[in-house]
């Protein structure tokens, strides 16, 4: 089968600014970014606390988080579907088959990733950082901020990793989003749909964009780290 023609069409589609296509790309981007933005104020300070404060059950929590790192996203989708459907406990909110459902799913998937990376970053931080900040008069909250800033690359790596995972996952988004055109159809679900319909140009265009996004974000992180990351 000749793939050159669909590939040519794919790029034509992309550069023509096809509204539907770019709408799909936009959905993928904003839901992924929003999920991480909503999680950040919770996960980063929480990760700091878990890394530094010994409380009963701490070890169990850390082990559990590690365990959930590779939790199958389709199972997240399944559970979320059951919870959000009309028969489920949260059915009254009518969230199923909306972008909000995908957002929630992404948050569930990204949470353990952000936690694990932040905990690791803070544990790997020089213990003198927090102490120096405190000795110079910083309140505990501020000293936490200073510490997190000092390990910002390691923390950011967590966000990049989480972003890559949610932007390209298909199981959860398909189940709880429903792949509705113009509403909950994002890059991975659209690729699945269009390819199964034999619309290879669309699939190739979206696949290319997804690749650029996923690789690009990682490259950007590595670039920004510059020397700082390579010590």
């Amino acid at each position: 089968m000749d793939l050159l023609e669909p590939t040519r069409q794919a790029f034509a589609l992309l550069f023509s600014g096809d509204r539907e296509l770019w709408g799909i790309i936009w959905l993928s981007l904003w839901v992924s970014v929003a999920a991480l933005a909503l999680l950040a104020p919770l996960c980063v300070p929480l990760g700091f606390v878990v890394a530094r404060i010994h409380f009963p059950g701490r070890r169990a929590l850390v082990v559990a988080m590690q365990g959930f790192l590779s939790f199958p996203t389709v199972v997240v989708g399944l559970v979320l579907y059951l919870v959000l459907s009309r028969r489920g406990p949260l059915g009254a909110f009518e969230l199923l088959f909306t972008p909000s459902a995908i957002l929630i799913g992404y948050m569930v998937i990204a949470l353990p990733i952000l936690m694990v990376f932040t905990v690791a970053a803070v544990q790997g931080a020089d213990s003198r950082i927090y102490e120096t900040a405190r000795c110079l008069g910083a309140r505990p909250l501020r000293a936490m901020g200073t510490t997190l800033w000092e390990v910002r690359f390691a923390v950011t790596a967590g966000f990049v990793n989480a972003f890559g995972r949610v932007v390209s996952e298909v199981g959860c988004a398909l189940l709880v989003g429903g792949n509705i055109a113009g509403l909950t159809r994002n890059i991975p679900t659209a690729i699945a749909l269009e390819t199964s319909k034999g619309e290879f140009a669309y699939g190739i265009a979206l696949g290319f964009v997804l690749m650029v996004i996923a690789v690009g974000v990682n490259v950007a992180l590595a670039w920004l780290q510059g020397e700082g990351g390579l010590e």
Partner: protein, 219 residues
């Protein structure tokens, strides 16, 4: 006149090992002290307890007639006036100026004033020429001088220095020594834990020796 800072009955254990057993010391305002003792005798630990970075099992800390349990939370207001410097100081990975301004910023000082004071402190430490260098690229001696500038700019009432000349020799050591001498004579109250004979020899300093899990004034 009552002493600026008192530690009474400090008991500090690490598991089975007893580091201090009913140790006490007194620091008078404006005086300089040097804390000496063999390696592992607990000099750093003592300084950290006085600075509120570690707590002891028992004992009392008294600063300016206010009391706090050595085992309990360290009073926040003390941190504004008592400054501790690590043996190997950590400089934040921002800029030299940022490091020196850090404590001033925490006090809510305005940007221009901060920058001015930091500039003066860097000049005092002889680091003006190193202005644009990333802090982690400074030499050991430069880092130590930067840390001293960072502490000095806060105009601390009590300065706790942990081995300021450790791992330094030659030119670097001499430069740090100069700054330490300047700090002592500038009427801050200073407590320095050190092995460095040149510091210990300074007549102006009162010697405190760690011995038999206590602290005694040595001649």
């Amino acid at each position: 006149m009552s002493p600026l800072f008192k530690a009474e009955g400090i008991v500090k254990r690490f598991g089975e090992r007893v580091l201090f057993d009913a140790a006490s010391l007194e620091l008078e305002t404006g005086n300089g002290y040097v804390l000496i003792g063999p390696n592992g005798s607990g000099k750093t630990t003592l300084l950290r307890v006085l600075a509120g970075l570690d707590s002891a099992q028992e004992g009392k800390l008294v600063y300016r007639a206010r009391e706090a349990a050595a085992a309990g939370p360290y009073p926040e207001p003390w941190r504004r006036e008592i400054v501790y410097a690590h043996q190997q100081p950590y400089l934040f990975r921002t800029s030299l100026a940022d490091n020196v301004e850090y404590g001033l910023a925490r006090r809510g000082m305005a940007r221009e004033r901060r920058a001015a004071l930091a500039g003066e402190a860097l000049a005092w430490a002889g680091l003006t020429a190193r202005h644009g260098v990333p802090p982690h690229r400074l030499s050991g001696g430069e880092k130590q001088r930067a840390a001293l500038a960072r502490a000095k700019v806060l105009d601390p009432v009590l300065l706790l220095l942990d081995e300021p000349t450790a791992n330094l020799d030659g030119e670097a050591r001499a430069q740090v020594l100069e700054l330490v001498r300047a700090l002592i004579t500038e009427s801050h109250t200073v407590l320095i834990a050190t092995h460095d004979p040149e510091i210990i020899r300074l007549a102006i300093l009162t010697r405190l020796r760690v011995s038999a899990q206590r602290i005694e004034v040595a001649e």
